[in-house]
Amino acid sequence: MTEKHATATGLVPPAAKSAPPSVHAPAPLLAKLPTVLGLLLFVAALAVPVLLFADDRYWLPIITRSLAIAIFALSVDLVWGYTGLLSLGQGLYFGLGAYMVAYALNLQKAAQERGGAPGTALTDFMIACRVEEVPAWMAPLANIWLAVALAILLPTIVATLFGYVAFRVRIKGVFFSLITQAMTLAVFTFVVNQQPYTGGIVGMPGLARLELFGHRFNSQVEMYWLIAGSLVVCFALCLGLVRSKFGKVLTAIRDNETRTLALGYDTAMYKTFVFAAAGALAGFAGALYTAVQRTVGPEEVLGIGFSIEIVILVAVGGRGTLIGAVIGTLLVMLGKTYINNELKQAWPIILGGLFILVVVFLPEGIVGFLRHALVRLRKLWPRNRSLVVSPR
């Protein structure tokens, strides 16, 4: 290869005037340093709410819940931020995960209240609908591990099937967004109509506390660490994914799918894979969310509004930057709680207005804005000017 190419390089290469040897990557360890420091900072930042709100029975659960939603936002960021597929129905996968764990905790609660082994005691909604015994398909879900496994597996399977079909027949752009939304609406309607098996529009309120390895998560601080730890793991996994060659292909698809295809990448397979991975992540987030909330309802997790809200969270934080999804979620979710306390009716208007503002003034979100500001700040610093102009 080198020998063959030498003939070509023998000719005067265009503009090869004074290419500094900057192309050679820095030592691997040194190159990873910012990532490692960033992750440590991220973990450290996650400890702050516990220190500040350890005894706060109001704000700590809200922050915990927001962190679960942040995992969900990561999944939307993978699909929309990195690959450019605007899914307005990610709530479907979140909802599937949420319901799986809700079945487990609901059956466990029924067993605690009415006696009998988990999976045999009737739940509240079954009694209300005069169901005689726990359906055979639902009983095994009393096992929390099976429920969590299905909370991840089921959304993955649905997302794979849907993604494979949609991307093979090249459904794109607004059609893709509408179909994802329609599917979520269909599942929403189904869940509402199947009250004997899903709890209908009320859902499953007042679930049992999460119990893993015989340990019951009684305190909010424990719950917080469970969710925060999960967020760190999911974040690191997503980071590994988007920084890998696979992730670069996703960005290439977002920038120019035709070109990616022309380079020989089977873009439909890439899109299906990332959609499935995002489905798994969304399902996992839904499972955690239910464990925190200890209630699940179709309007809350399967409503169209929820799916759209997540897209806005990612846009506010900065699409295509994982940390942006987390920051956007925390800021908007805490803002939402605050505003809901003051003036509940105003929230949808404020959310919509926020979206317009971000699209018009901060197209790259908060993180993108901060990055640009950093570059400008460095330019003002004459000593560092060369740092900005020269490639890192």
């Binding site: 190419h5 070509a8 503009a15 005037k17 050679h24 960005t251 120019n256 990616t260 295809l261 022309a262």
Partner: protein, 261 residues
């Protein structure tokens, strides 16, 4: 002559009645650098579209190294070793120059081959070689969206080169370039032609004379004539096509017209 690397037989493409290509026959020997010229609407870009599988022909066949590739999907044709550089720069603007080239380097394309693997996975040598050749070594870590127009075109050429295709299709490589940039591009193409077979579509006759061995002239979807630059310029049919009064003489054609005179 040996067997042609590319052979096009009776190729016809019609778009709702309009025949962009009309029974075109065309073949190419390995290692050739062929320039295709022709007035607007002659079917030059359509020809490339058909070869790469982007457009399906209404009739006719395309053979690549003796294999019928007429009905293969786009990515399968790319796998066979046909690369294309588009008319407008088509680089991935959010990726760096280095990443753009890395994705283009010939190698495995499956989903699993790229999962949790670095983008430069054993191809660093080849990528840096190309970076030097296209003269963008000092901008390797720039986002491609920030490059100047000419630099984007070189990056494009680098990406096509990285695919290491046997046949390279290049659509208007010097459109919008300064004369100096255009000359450098010519040098780059000549360097590439030693390893690859090239089809270049170009309007700019100064550029055509710089690089061309054989020129093919298309008109109304058909082959008008083939030969060296001098032969083609003397050909009365070519002169007629470029001077034809009923033809809309746009800027690009006028360039060609001056040269023909």
């Amino acid at each position: 002559m040996g067997s042609p690397i590319l052979h096009v037989e009776n190729l016809t493409v019609s778009f709702s009645g309009f025949k962009a290509l009309n029974g075109l026959n065309f073949s190419l020997q390995p290692g050739e650098l062929r320039v295709v010229i022709g007035p607007n609407g002659a079917g030059k870009t359509t020809l490339l579209d058909v070869i790469t599988g982007k457009t399906r022909p209404t009739a006719g066949r395309v053979y690549f190294r003796g294999e019928d590739i007429t009905k293969l999907p786009e990515q399968a044709i790319a796998h066979r070793g046909i690369g294309r550089k588009f008319q407008t720069p088509n680089v991935f603007k959010s990726l760096t120059v280095l990443e753009n080239l890395s994705l283009a380097v010939k190698g495995r394309r499956t989903v699993t081959s790229g999962l949790f693997r670095p983008v430069l996975n054993g191809e660093a040598g080849r990528v840096h070689e190309i970076l030097d050749l296209i003269g963008l070594g000092h901008k390797a870590r720039f986002r491609a969206g920030l490059l100047a127009h000419g630099e984007k075109q070189w990056l494009e050429l680098g990406m096509v080169m990285a695919q290491d295709p046997e046949l390279l299709l290049i659509d208007e490589p010097v459109a919008g370039m300064t004369p100096r940039e255009s000359e450098r591009t010519g040098e780059l193409l000549l360097a590439m032609a030693r390893k690859h077979t090239l089809i270049v579509i170009e309007h700019d006759m100064t550029f055509v004379r710089q690089i061309a061995h054989t020129v093919t002239v298309l008109d109304e979807g058909q082959l008008l004539c083939e030969g060296t630059v001098e032969e083609v310029q003397r050909n009365p049919k070519v002169i007629e096509v470029y001077l034809g009064q009923d033809r809309e003489a746009d800027a690009a054609d006028r360039t060609a017209l001056c040269v023909v005179r």
